[in-house]
Symmetry: C2
Subunit: 404 residues, 2 copies
């Protein structure tokens, strides 16, 4: 009978994280959840999907259902050239690689780059999926401090001066979990740092198109193309269930990314790539994106308004120009895992921020709130409930006993 | 500028294999290729696909485009229960895991089980995709000899007695590349061996449904369910471009397979899983499978007839009851890489068998012929050409100089 002893050492790093338990709890019927990190189903372009499935079957026939190149379906790679040019990214179709979600690109990057013990620098807090993608390759995570303008260049430079890292991972726009966006000044500073230290940067940009106000900021990739792997996904602007990611990497990297992906899934679904190609090249994204923003912006505003009304004075939070999340910081000693348990008894849930830190125990006083999965009314109600629970928590001794 | 020195050690094992170069050559226009290993596009159920895309969008709506559980889309897992029962496999939906092609399951198995240097036993020759999936985890391959009835139980027992292996990998039905099928007697013997050595077996069955004659043989999984990971794919009976694989594993294994997959792609395309669920549960597979067999059987017969007519006496080959391949053995000293180059100059190609052996240099005198991608007439012509090239090769000194 197979047993745990037969598992590879790397498998120890794949332990079921507590957040999965939380997400199970919040899926209970009747629960109002600000814990999720997923797009609203009503944001999916269902009528467009009905239309383009037919178009794609007519246009590509059996080619859309046959094996295809590991690099990706050419019409999609060509459509992505135009998509990336609008972000200021200069790419050719043969340089763009398709992945099964951006998760696929993160796994391949970890696989080709990380030796056990290699240092990987990332934001504190950072995207949980990246931690899960890299973890099996046994990296040593180096947390870089952040503020409301994103990663701190001085902190990054300090870490790189101390000891080199295999690569740096960051989310530049409306970061998950904080919602923070890296300013142009900092993008320049970070581009300058990776040049001086000749260090690879992985720029993960799933939320850039979900901008509710202000003007887009050029990717760091445009400032240091030879040192940056730019990756993104159609999950937030088309449909996450199609698992459609893509990346643009320095040539020496992309060659190996293709070989790694070949061993993992041969290639990403040809049919889904054809749908994505039609969605982009057919102008459907341009047509549909405004309606996604029109759906999310008022939800974010409703949440921020409610937080201003119902959250205790001693709490601060981000007010992002886009994305899907608001990040909340409480007074030191606040234990948000306990607070979440209290909220759940009142059928309201969020994610304690500590799960987004590579170093266990960090960020106990933080939480992530999602506003894409509920309408304005339930968002207001949920924030009111959480505000009351926070008030209770503040006044409860057992919380204060955890201070210091 | 990133360079090779920054790559992980495991990446050395991902070197571009010579077979990829061959497959590039054979994709030249006008080339008659028996080198491929892919289904005929005319075998895809295009009219059914047109029908069920609409059905699925109606039936599941936005759920077919939303994030889903890593384990897989429940309606597909339920449909697979009935599919597996007909093979004699007793499963419940919660035990079945969906993967992005069977390649995805092979990658996850390698990831959770293989430490660098761990021994993995596999057939000589074996499926190239399995070698590519496991290689990044740095296994030590142990080749187990085979004959026209598949893996030799005595050879397997000998290897396990010498030193334990992490797991055994084999393809029981119409194996790639040989087309050989493991007899019931040997399945019992191997089930008995893995019990006595308490060793895990990975049973990869992509071709089982492509049976042109004779009666199906029960999977080894039915003889030792607690020691066998049974995996398969819909690539050969639906459409490979959908990347739809699945597996049934002992519980202690499947828990970790899910965590591994979560880091790799979160989950397999929900839409494609919904299409597969409809294809199976709607009875479309039962309706369509006979037409795939009716397409391939005469192609295989045409190839075998032509080989009998045109291949030199000193060559032997398999006559499989199904699948996609015929395996050819020439006299010792025959170098099939050279023969293939000679055939390519006459616009005909195959894959030299040596690429399917884990140990470099083995099987130089063998070749794999595929008969799914060409019609009877071109198959006959291609076999005639190869037969002539083999005759030339036999009579050419430079070939004989390689003997001994």
């Amino acid at each position: 009978m197979p047993n745990k002893n037969m598992l590879a050492n790397r498998t120890r790093n794949m332990g079921a994280s507590a957040i999965r338990e939380i997400l199970k709890v919040v899926s209970r019927p009747g629960m109002i959840s600000l814990a999720g990190g997923i797009p609203a189903p009503e944001s999916f372009p269902m009528s467009i999907v009905r239309e383009i499935t037919g178009t794609v079957i007519e246009k590509y026939g059996s080619n859309a259902f046959q094996y295809d190149h590991t690099e990706g379906f050419l019409p999609l790679r060509e459509a992505l050239v135009d998509y990336l040019i609008e972000k200021g990214i200069d790419a050719t179709a043969d340089r763009i690689l398709i992945s099964s979600g951006s998760q696929g690109a993160l796994d391949s990057l970890g696989k080709i780059l990380i030796n056990p013990g290699d240092r990987v620098a990332l934001e504190a807090p950072t995207y949980l999926g990246a931690l899960q993608a890299f973890a099996p390759y046994e990296p040593h995570y180096v947390q870089i401090d952040t503020d409301d303008q994103g990663m701190l260049p001085d902190a990054l430079e300090g870490a790189l001066s101390h000891r080199p890292v295999k690569f740096i991972y960051l989310v530049p726009n409306f970061q998950n979990p904080t919602g923070h966006t890296l300013t142009m000044k900092r993008r320049r500073a970070i581009a300058d740092i990776i040049r001086r230290f000749d260090t690879l940067l992985v720029e993960d940009d799933p939320y850039g198109d979900l901008r509710y106000r202000g003007t887009p900021i050029p990717p760091i990739q445009t400032l240091a193309p030879d040192l940056v792997v730019y990756l993104s996904t159609l999950s937030k602007i088309f449909a996450p269930g199609l698992r459609m990611g893509f990346c643009l990497a320095p040539e020496v990297i992309s060659h190996w990314l293709v070989l790694a992906k070949q061993g993992v899934d041969l290639h990403t679904s040809t049919f889904n790539q054809a749908l994505a190609a039609e969605y982009l090249a057919g102008g459907y994204l341009k047509f549909h994106l405004p309606s996604i923003i029109a759906l999310y912006r008022p939800r974010q505003e409703a949440m921020l308004d409610a937080m201003a009304r119902f959250f205790p004075q001693s709490f601060t939070w981000s007010a992002p120009d886009g994305g899907m999340f608001v990040w909340v910081k409480g007074p030191a000693g606040m234990d948000m895992e306990t607070v979440n348990k209290m909220a759940v008894t009142r059928m309201t849930a969020f994610v304690p921020g500590t799960f987004f830190f590579a170093r266990p125990g960090d960020g106990m006083e933080t939480m992530r709130l999602n506003y894409t999965m509920a309408n304005e009314e339930s968002l207001t109600g949920a924030v009111k409930t959480i505000g009351e629970v926070l008030q209770d928590a503040l006044t409860q001794k057992q919380i204060y006993q955890r201070v210091g």
